[in-house]
């Protein structure tokens, strides 16, 4: 490849990474924690020692929801668990949810304020917790990320073998970041390729469908998409009310079709109507594309169709791995742990990419205002998000066990935002090197502290509960990872001086006099 072309690819890779890097850092860090989403749902609730942990009664929940909200019969999802959940759409098409514990013995809905920590982390992951535009923004970011990956592959393919062993303490600090970035990028490339493609497909699905429908396939696309993505067409209500077979019969019928099926959710449509349809959806272990659906008639639980690994149309077979490869839910705890580690390494990749962009720009153009702002914003956002989520976890436990437990969801999001803004402000004022040192040490302390606060408030016996244990281990693993980065940083600084950019003063109001070279 010509040197000029290679240089263009390197520039483009840097620009694309810089444009997408901060959003991807947030998505990857929240995504790494979100690998334990189900466990976080348990962790966020006040620990109850006598909890039986058995399956809750889905039929009772279904009946209770329908008794107080008849319109939920049109479309409802039932999620099993010790405190099962029903998700349904109200008259304004807004999604609502009820837990089984939200109903009194008399069947009245008695909503109590709940923690939304796990859902908040999930929203940070897939839409940066931004309403309306967040999902589309993340879709576009994923496409740019894909372009940066293709560029990275073009740059690194010829020297891939060398870069596996390139993490050496040679030359200046920038070379070290570069080697670290290349090493992490090369090792985790397949993982990133999966995320870029599946993330873009999920985030941009509506946009892709709109443009493809307008330019390529015309009005016929809508029907084709429905057929390609849904297990069964949406039924229309007949208006004739009949008796339903019931949740137990649906689960039994589904298990008769797929004995290994683990039920993840049950979708009911037009419940109570002659045309009611029930989709018992779940997983068949031993497959990457593990999703399975058994669609049944609501009145007598007769099987309408079965879509399972090895027995489904090509579109369904192609769609299933889009989800499973993205969510890492196909190989048990080992694969989830691997995704967690690779997610944290991804954070390091985006952080180091942004640092390299800023240093490279300074080296090429001299003291540079945009480079120093980029470095400071990178430090502020990365440490702000990490510290914010740790403080959010602490707020969850402290407020849940205080007289203001009703404000727990508000306190989680409010503390995150406050810490993020404060850290960003601090990063724009303090010298980057000091910000990096104290940011890292602060985050290590916070992540080490969260399980201690949880244990202190709820009793250290709670640590033996598997879900709490797993989340606490994950939080300590974050602290340990940050401690490893801090150790590398300190060791590196002992051997070579920092790039002048790291010792710069806050950016000047105008011009490019914001740097003080050491």
């Amino acid at each position: 490849m010509k040197a000029e072309t290679l240089r263009k690819h390197i520039d483009l890779h840097g620009w694309l990474g810089m444009l997408a890097g901060l959003a991807l850092f947030v998505a990857f860090f929240a995504g790494a924690l979100n690998m334990f989403h189900e466990e976080l749902h348990h962790w966020q609730e006040p620990y109850v020692a006598e909890s039986g942990g058995g399956e809750g009664d889905l039929q009772a929940l279904l009946d209770q929801v329908l008794a107080v909200t008849p319109e939920a019969a049109k479309l409802m999802y039932l999620v099993p668990g010790d405190d099962p959940v029903a998700l349904w759409q109200d008259a304004n098409q807004e999604w609502r949810f009820d837990h089984a514990s939200d109903f009194s013995a008399a069947g009245e809905r008695v909503k109590t304020p709940r923690s939304e920590l796990a859902e908040f982390i999930n929203e940070l992951h897939y839409k940066l917790a931004l309403p309306v535009v967040g999902l589309y923004l993340m879709g576009i970011i994923s496409v740019l990320y894909g372009a940066a990956l293709i560029g990275g592959l073009v740059i690194h393919w010829p020297k891939m073998k060398k870069e596996f062993f390139a993490l050496r303490h040679q030359g200046n600090l920038r070379r070290y970041w570069k080697n670290l970035h290349n090493l992490v990028g090369v090792i985790s490339f397949p993982f990133h390729a999966i995320f870029a493609i599946t993330g873009a497909a999920m985030g941009c699905f509506a946009l892709l469908a709109l443009v493809a429908g307008t330019l390529v396939f015309g009005p016929q696309l809508q029907g084709a998409i429905t057929e390609a993505t849904e297990a069964w067409p949406t039924p229309r209500a007949s208006g004739e009310m009949v008796e339903m077979a019931g949740v137990a019969a649906y689960v039994a019928a589904a298990r008769a079709e797929l004995p290994d099926l683990r039920v993840d959710w049950i979708e009911v449509q037009q419940y109570g109507d002659r045309n009611a349809v029930v989709d018992v959806a779940g997983s068949v272990p031993g497959w990457i594309a593990h999703h399975a659906h058994v669609v049944l008639a609501g009145d007598n639980a007769r099987t309408l169709t079965v879509s399972s690994p090895g027995n489904r149309p090509f579109n369904h077979a192609a769609l299933s791995p889009v989800y499973s490869l993205h969510f890492g839910d196909y190989g048990g705890l080992l694969v989830r742990g691997l995704y967690f580690v690779l997610g944290l390494l991804g954070c390091l990749l985006f952080f180091s990419g942004n640092v390299m962009w800023a240093e490279r720009r300074t080296d090429r153009q001299g003291p540079n205002r945009s480079a120093i702002i980029m470095l400071r914003v990178t430090l502020g956002v990365t440490f702000g998000v990490m510290a914010g989520l740790a403080v959010s976890c602490i707020a969850n436990k402290v407020v849940s066990h205080s007289p203001w437990a009703g404000a727990v969801a508000w306190s989680e999001k409010g503390s995150f935002l406050a810490v993020l803004l404060l850290t960003l402000l601090l990063a724009l004022r303090a010298a980057p090197l000091a910000m990096c040192r104290w940011g890292l040490r602060g985050c290590i302390a916070l992540y080490a502290l969260v399980p201690v606060v949880q244990g202190g408030l709820e009793g250290f016996a709670s640590w033996s509960e598997p879900h709490i244990y797993l989340v606490n281990i994950a939080l300590w693993a974050v602290a340990a990872s940050l401690a490893a980065v801090e150790w590398l940083r300190v060791r590196r600084l002992r051997r070579a001086g920092p790039h002048p950019l790291w010792e710069s003063a806050p950016p000047a109001p105008t011009g490019e006099a914001g740097l003080v070279r050491s």
């Binding site: 483009l12 497909a201 390529v216 009005p219 057929e227």
Partner: protein, 85 residues
């Protein structure tokens, strides 16, 4: 600027190029629609990268508009749009 051009004009181009492929492949596009969408995403990313290689913004804009136009005209020669609607 070139990245922006690639992002905006690369999307229809990627979908139309994959649409042309769908018109050529002897399997009904409805049967591999999910794969079509995934391929379009990959091609869109590649086009963003290619769009940044020309020396000037103008050249990027010209070749993107020209290829979009050519792909659209070629698509009209296929029976894809609205066929069997």
């Amino acid at each position: 600027m070139r990245v922006l051009l690639g992002t905006v004009l690369g999307l229809p181009l990627a979908l139309m190029l994959c649409g042309l492929m769908a018109a050529i492949v002897p399997v009904d596009w409805r049967q591999w629609l999910v794969l079509y969408l995934l391929l379009s995403v990959v091609l869109w990313s590649a086009l963003i990268m290619l769009a940044a290689l020309p020396a000037t913004h103008g050249r990027t804009a010209v070749w993107l508009v020209a290829t979009n136009g050519a792909a659209w005209i070629l698509l009209q020669t296929t029976g894809l749009y609205g066929a069997a609607a």
